[in-house]
Structure formats: structure tokens, C-alpha cells
Amino acid sequence: MTEPLLKIEDLEVIYSTDRAEVNAINGVSLEVNSGEVRGLVGESGCGKSTLAFAIMRYLDKNGKITGGRILFKGEDLRKKTEAEMEDIWGRHLGMIYQDPTASLNPSLPVGDQIAEVATAHGLASRDEAIQKAIDLLDRVHIRDPEDIVDRYPHELSGGMRQRVGIAAGLIGEPELLVMDEPTTNLDVTTEARILDIVEELTEELNSAFLYITHDLGVIARIGDAVEVMYAGQVVERGSIEELFEEQYHPYTKLLLRSIPDPEGSKGSLQEVPGSMVDLTDLPRGCNFSTRCPYRGEECFKSEPSLDDKSESHSARCFIAPIEGKVETVSESKDTGKEPIGDEPPELKREDSILAVKDLKKYFGGGSGWFPWADSDPVRAVDGVNLDLERSKTLGVVGESGCGKTTLARTIIGLSRATEGEIDFAGKDITAPISRRSPKTLKRIQIVFQDPRSTLNPKRTVGQAIARPLALHGDFARSEIPKKTARLLRSVGLDPSLADRFPDQLSGGQKQRVATARAFATNPALVLHDEPTSSLDVSVQATILNLLLELQEGSGTSYLFISHDLSVVRHISDYIAVMYLGHLVEYGRTGEIFSPPYHPYTEALLSAIPVPDPGLSRKRIRLKGSVPSAVDPPSGCVFHTRCPRKIGEVCESESPPARGEGEHKIHCHITRDELSEVEPVLG
């Protein structure tokens, strides 16, 4: 057997902070062989990124490798000097980063940023390197690469920036490429394109890939083998086929079940109970014992080792294999949650709570200082009709730039509608927020995407929740602390957290606080703008379950915005698919997920990463990126990217709504023809 390309032995990394030492990596051993794609999966804080940067020998100043060896091509990287590492970086050991925008120099053309790797290592002259960059951009399917090399990063879309990042990683032809969550910040459709490219590259090149992600669905598609990490240790390792067939470690099992199944239906998701163990104070015995639903006595006494369960499958667990199906474990169930809201909602089901009629929201445009500086407006939302019943959830899906967030902001009044009408509980509320009655304000709330930036860092959790209570509540101020505690309990948080500042909470906890704040005024409608897209899959499951539970208790209606159809499926009764400010399909959740589909919906569905390596699905990939909303395509706005464009009619006429009951598809293709496609899922 040949020596593995990368061999890590008993690696240990410690971060020193003011308060304590964080044991980020606690004895990791793994191997990566040439030509393979090895996945590294785990929740935030499991140490996967630390491991990646330890391999690169580029830890933060307070991080230190305290033990073990990192053998790369037989040589220990720990013994290399900085100057020696400079020869290895980029040439033998490349890296691709999570945030393609931040990882590119904003003031340098992207071609230079790719080419400089080759010139720095003396692989090519500058002109040759630029030519190589052009070839590579072409290889990652960027159109007009000769033109793109001269562009600056901000002129490219997120997906294109990541392809530039990949090209920069490839140009030095490194033997090992470390990819640190390269698709996490991207749309599902863009992610699918990037994964296609990675897949192609892994087949063509003999390089090895270490692919880091929190999403098992992604690994199932492109990996050969996978390492599951928890608390700085590998807890399970196996070939893709075996690991997805059977999971020995309870953590892997739970993690896999927490992914929303695109074939599932509205209902509870599996959760991984509790949260990541405190890395400054690891428990005796198994690190997962604090969260494990199967733990036995021995788990607290000694630490399990990573034992082989079969030839290519091992797990760090005393209990494994776990027989039978995993019971649904919902953390929220056993915390004694209280129903949210005081008054029983005045329910007249089937009533419309929200009706949006021909809503348009244009930004900018109009006249500048000079006639030639006049500009066309950005048509963010361009004639959308929606209807939402009481106690129901309407999911709004689409790629970045489709206008879904603008839609939410206009409904709640943060943006003034350009045209059209918004009715709330039968009343016209189209006016901006400053001219809405306090009662209306109170009844519509919003939860934003990034809980880090929506909670004031200078205010405690209690203060954040008390504010809407004081503003809109009709009760004595002395009751506020009691109500705050009640709200915290109802979102599954301990009331003692009221004194904490947002910095002291995890991402999931912050999003719970934001949810509690939205529910403080007992709203009839809550808008959720991608509330889970910045969270881990396992945390996402707990938030989705919480929202379902809160809705059951309070009868609140939701408008739920996401770019991920499988997430939307779990929470929605109705789904609206948006593209470039237009509604392209609307219907009950079940109707959206089976034919007939709008061609755009079909593409979105086929892009969802499914944690099932055996599944070979239809692959429908959209060309290019969403066109500019300043100058949208004529006729059907989707015709420039539509894989099923039928002809000139698509360019000249806006498509009719082809309906059957509530289900409407805006397309020139007839409903019968649209029905003839094979289902994407199942």
C-alpha cells in the first residue's frame, strides 16, 4: 500500500483565551489519499475549520498545535519554517474559502489574483499565467473568461467569485486542495453549479480534496469518504456508501435526520438535543455523552476509541450499533414550554389575513442632475399577487435577487409600495410604517436572517424582549419581567438568559430571542426572512420545529422566505416561487413538489442536495445568473435562462397563468405538457 498523501496523527490544537483554554482539536488522526474526496462534517464549533487551518499551518495567533504530527507527502509540516511553507502554500497545498467575497482582494482584477499563484511559484511568466487563468475560468464554466480576468470582484456574482476562488486554488496544481465550506454562503442553485464543477474536477484531476461542510447532503453528492467530527474528535468515519447506509454513532444519525427531507411534508424535524459541549471543560468519558439520547453508564466513565465496525467504517461509541429507528427527540418537548400568546386568537379559519394585490416596488430611477444621468428603476417586485389564510404558512422561494426580501419589507412597511395594495385582515395597510396604526404595527412582526445583527449588542435579551412589550402591551409595567420570562420559556430558552447580552448566546439562541421578540406583541402575522440560512443544519431543525409549535399554539400566520425549497416544504402550507420580481408558480406545498412544475421550480428542486449517495437525480442547471432587475428580459422574465424555452413567444409576451384550482403556473407551455415531465424527487 502506498503512503497516504496526508496523514494526520493524534493532532491536538488549543486556543488560549482570556478566560480559559479551548480544546479545539483533541486527538484527530486521519488520512487523505491522492485522487479522493474526503468529507469533513460537523456542526459549528466542532473543530473542522481549525483542523483545516492547522493543516495549512495558519492558525490564529492564540491557537497552537500542542501535539501530534501532520505528515504531508511524508514530511511533518509542523517542522517547516514559514519560508518553507511559502513554497508549499498554493503550489502543493491549496485552499478554497467559505466566503468568496471576503477572500478576494477588492482592488485587484480577478485575473491577477489567480495568475499570481503561478508567477509567485515560478510556474509561468505573467502572460502565460493570465492565459492559464483564462483557461481555468473557462474550465469552471465562466463565460467570456477573457473579459472576466480584467474585472474586479465586486463586478461578479457570488457564484462567479467562488469559481474565481476555485481557479486560484487550482492554478498551482496542488496535490491537496482544502475546501472550507465553499458553498455555504451561496444559493441552492449556485451551490449545485459549484458542486457540479467540483465533481468534474475530482474526476479529471488526480489531486486529493478535503471537503469541509456542515451539510451531509453536499458530501453525499461529491464525497468518496467522510469523517464526522464532534468536539475536536473524529467520531465516525466511513466510505460514503456505508456511512449513509448505516450510522454507528448517534451523533451522525441525528445529524443526518435533522436535514429537511425534500420529499417529506410539513411536520417536525429530528433535532440534535442540547448544544455543543463546552470545549474549555470537556466531560470525562465520551464527549457526546452530554447530548446523547442513548448514553449508558460506561459513557461517563471512560472515553471510547475510534473502533473499526467494518473494513471501511469506524465509530467512537460504546453503544453502537444502535438498533432500530431513532426516536424523535425534540429538545423543545421536555423543557416545559408554555404556549405563546395570552389571548386565544380570534380564529375564523379560511379568513384571509394577508392579501397582496398587484404589488410593485421599484427602487431608484428618476432623474439625476443631468438628463443623461437619468436611470431606470430597479424593479425589485413587479406585480405580485398573494393570499394568505389565517394560521397558515406561505413559503416564498427564489434565488438571491428575486425580490423575496423586498416583498417582506414592503408588506411590513419598511419600504413604501410603488404600486398595488396590501390588505391585512381585510383592511388596506399599503401605507409605510410611519402612517400605520399602532394596532397594525403590533399585529405584524418580522424575524430577520441574521440574528447577530438584528439584536442590539448593548441590550440584554430581557431588554430586547421587554421593549415591544412596553410599547404595545396594555398591562402594568410591573408585569413585564413575568411576561418576558414566559416568552423566553415558550421559545425554549431558560428565563435566566434574560440578563445575558447577545454576544453570550449561540446563533440558534439568538434566533430564538429574535423570535420571542417578534411574538411579544401577540402578532397575527409574522414574516420570517431566511431565519435559518445562517445556522447549522442541526440548529435549523430546532428553529423550524419551534416555529411550527408556536404556530400550533397561537394560530399566527407566517410568511416564510427562503432560497431552500426543502426547508420551505417543512413549514409551509402554500408556496410561492419568485423570479426577478415576478411570481412564476403558486400553489399548495404538495402541488409545487410534483409535476406539473414551472421550469424554474423544476430547476430549484433538482438543485437541492439530498443526503442519499445512491440517488441519481435529474440535473437541471440554469445558465448564468439572475439578470439585472433594472432591465428585465421582455416577455417572460425567465426566458434568458429557461431550459424549456419554446420560442419567440417567450420573448415577446408575458406568460399566462395556467391554473387548476389554486395552483397557478405562469408559463407559455401548456399545463398538459408541463405535466409530462418526470418528477424530480422520489
Binding site: M56, Y58, E82, M85, E86, D87, I88, W89, G90, R91, G94, M95, Y97, D99, A102, S103, L104, N105, P106, S107, L108, E116, V117, A120, H121, Y152, H154, E155, G165, A168, G172, G364, G368, W369, F370, W372, A373, S375, V378
Partner: protein, 319 residues
């Protein structure tokens, strides 16, 4: 780009126009009667009336404003009231030249030093060098320039006798022959700015060095030197342009304290003296110069920044 430049230019012009109205109104609001001031306390009522009509003081306010403005545009700034017969135009030009020399001298001194210090401190945050630079620059910022000025006079003029205490210039000699007189005002002016720009660059360096793209550049194996020159410096130094511009604008008209301390004949002191003597034409002209200088420098910076920063260059349409 052309449309951007043109619209910025129009904005600058509008600002100057608005400022000219304000300057004119301020001059109007000053207490005291100009005619009385010229003719003295014992002037007769007839001679006062005659002078007022000669000066056009009995015309309505807006007419007088337009008279003044059209004079300014034609280059006729009137005659001084306190220094009889002296034309304001040439006087202002002389003083403006002095102010420019002082500002330029200060900039030539400040910019390289603050860049050097800022980069050195930012490269190794927390090191003894960084701490020394931080403490020194904080000290420089905290000292008002008249204190620095007096201290300089005490040391270099009174104790050592190397430099003249007064920086008043002799009209007969060219300004460059009198450079030693410029040294102390430049030093006094530089303290605060040097500290300010250095700290700005240091902060900017630290931020860029921690950025993801610096990490990415390092892990491409470019080597430290190339990472710094190609990726770090440009992005770290660019924001300093704005800070420098604001300071330059201030130097051109706001260095009142330093000019007064050293008796330096710049625009700021000209305006100060004019206010003291109710010399309205000189005051108006001086203030207008300060405004025009400030706005011009900022206009120039906007254009320069646009040329240097690709993000602004291309994304303007999406504002």
C-alpha cells in the same frame, strides 16, 4: 465617470454659492455702521449719508449681494476699509500664497512620516514599537497647537536661538528665502494631524492584515513582501486619502491659532484681523477663499478616490 464628475462639480458649485450667501449675511449681521467706522465718531450726518450712497449701502440687501457676487466673479473684490486704498484682490492672493506654502510644507512633512509610522505600527500590533507610536501620537493629538507652538518658541527661539520667534514675512523678499520662518509653524501644525493620520493608517493596516483576502494571499505562497505590497498596502492606505484631504482643507483656512501664535501672514489671520476692524470686503473675500479651497480639495479627493478605488468606479449606478 464624466457624468459623475459633472454632477459632483455642480454640487461643489452649489455649495460655494450657498456659502457665499451665508458669508454675505454674516457680514451684514455684524454690529456697527461701516460708514461711521470709516469716517470716525465725529462725522456729520450729511457726510455719512453721502458715503453710504457712494458705497451703495442704502440699496436693498439682495441687490447688494448680487453686486458683490458679480464683483467676485469679475475678480473685483473691492478695496479694504481699514487699510485705506489697498485693493482686496492682490492682498488676498499674497496671503493665500502664504497659506498654501504653509499647508504644502506641513503636508510634505506629515504625509510620509505618518505613513511610515502608521505602517510600522500596524504591521506588528501590540509590539513595543506599536505601543511607543500609539502613545506618542495620542500625546501629539492631545496637545493643542498653541501649546506646541509656545513650546517650540521657548526651545528653538528663546533657549537655543536657532529660529526667529516671529514668522511674519518681509514683503520685499520671496517666501522661499524665508524658509526658516516656516519651520516652527509647520511643526506646530503637524502635531495633531500627524497623530491623527498615523493612527488612522495603523487601524486600517490592522484591519486589512486580518482580512480574509490577506489570509488567502498568504496561503497562495506569495511571500510576505508580495502580500504586503500587492494586497495590503493599497487597501490600507486608500482610506487615508479622505483623512488627508479633510486636514488639507483645514490647513488652508483654519490654522488661525498657529498663524496668530507665530504672527504668520496667512489667510486665517487676514480674516481674523478683518473681523476685528470691521473690514467687511476683506473678511468676505477671505472667508470665501477658505470655503472655495475646502470644497475644491474635497472635490479633487472625490475624483481621485474614484480613480483609485475600483469599487466606487463601477458601482456608482447602483447607489
Amino acid at each position: 465617470m464624466i457624468s459623475f464628475t459633472a454632477s459632483r462639480f455642480l454640487q461643489a458649485l452649489t455649495s460655494i454659492l450657498v456659502a457665499s450667501i451665508l458669508i454675505f449675511l454674516i457680514a451684514e449681521a455684524l454690529p456697527g455702521d461701516v460708514a461711521q467706522m470709516i469716517l470716525g465718531q465725529y462725522a456729520t450726518e450729511e457726510s455719512l449719508t453721502a458715503l453710504r450712497s457712494k458705497l451703495g449701502l442704502n440699496k436693498p440687501l439682495h441687490i447688494r449681494y448680487f453686486d458683490w457676487l458679480s464683483g467676485v466673479i469679475r475678480g473685483d473684490l473691492g478695496t479694504s476699509l481699514s487699510k485705506t486704498g489697498v485693493e482686496v484682490g492682490p492682498l488676498l492672493v499674497r496671503r493665500a500664497r502664504n497659506s498654501l506654502v504653509l499647508a504644502a510644507g506641513a503636508m510634505i512633512f506629515i504625509v510620509p512620516i505618518s505613513f511610515l509610522l502608521g505602517i510600522a505600527a500596524g504591521l506588528r500590533p501590540g509590539s513595543w514599537l506599536d505601543r511607543t507610536i500609539s502613545v506618542t501620537t495620542l500625546g501629539l493629538i492631545s496637545f493643542p497647537s498653541f501649546i506646541t507652538g509656545l513650546a517650540l518658541i521657548l526651545i528653538f527661539s528663546v533657549q537655543l536661538g536657532w529660529l526667529p520667534a516671529s514668522s511674519s514675512l518681509e514683503l520685499s523678499r520671496g517666501i522661499f528665502q524665508q524658509l526658516p520662518r516656516l519651520i516652527m509653524p509647520i511643526l506646530a501644525l503637524s502635531g495633531v494631524m500627524l497623530g491623527y493620520i498615523t493612527r488612522h493608517i495603523r487601524a486600517s493596516m490592522v484591519k486589512v492584515l486580518r482580512s480574509d483576502y490577506t489570509r488567502a494571499a498568504t496561503l497562495k505562497g506569495l511571500g510576505r513582501r508580495k502580500v504586503l505590497t500587492k494586497h495590503v498596502l493599497r487597501n490600507a492606505l486608500l482610506p487615508a486619502i479622505t483623512v488627508i484631504a479633510i486636514n488639507l482643507g483645514w490647513l488652508l483656512g483654519g490654522a488661525v491659532v498657529v498663524e496668530a501664535t507665530f504672527g504668520y501672514p496667512g489667510v486665517a489671520r487676514l480674516v481674523l484681523d478683518a473681523i476685528k476692524h470691521r473690514d467687511i470686503p476683506v473678511m468676505e473675500a477671505g472667508l470665501l477663499f477658505v470655503v472655495v479651497a475646502y470644497i475644491t480639495v474635497n472635490f479633487g479627493t472625490d475624483i481621485l478616490y474614484t480613480l483609485l478605488d475600483p469599487r466606487i468606479r463601477y458601482s456608482r449606478g447602483e447607489e
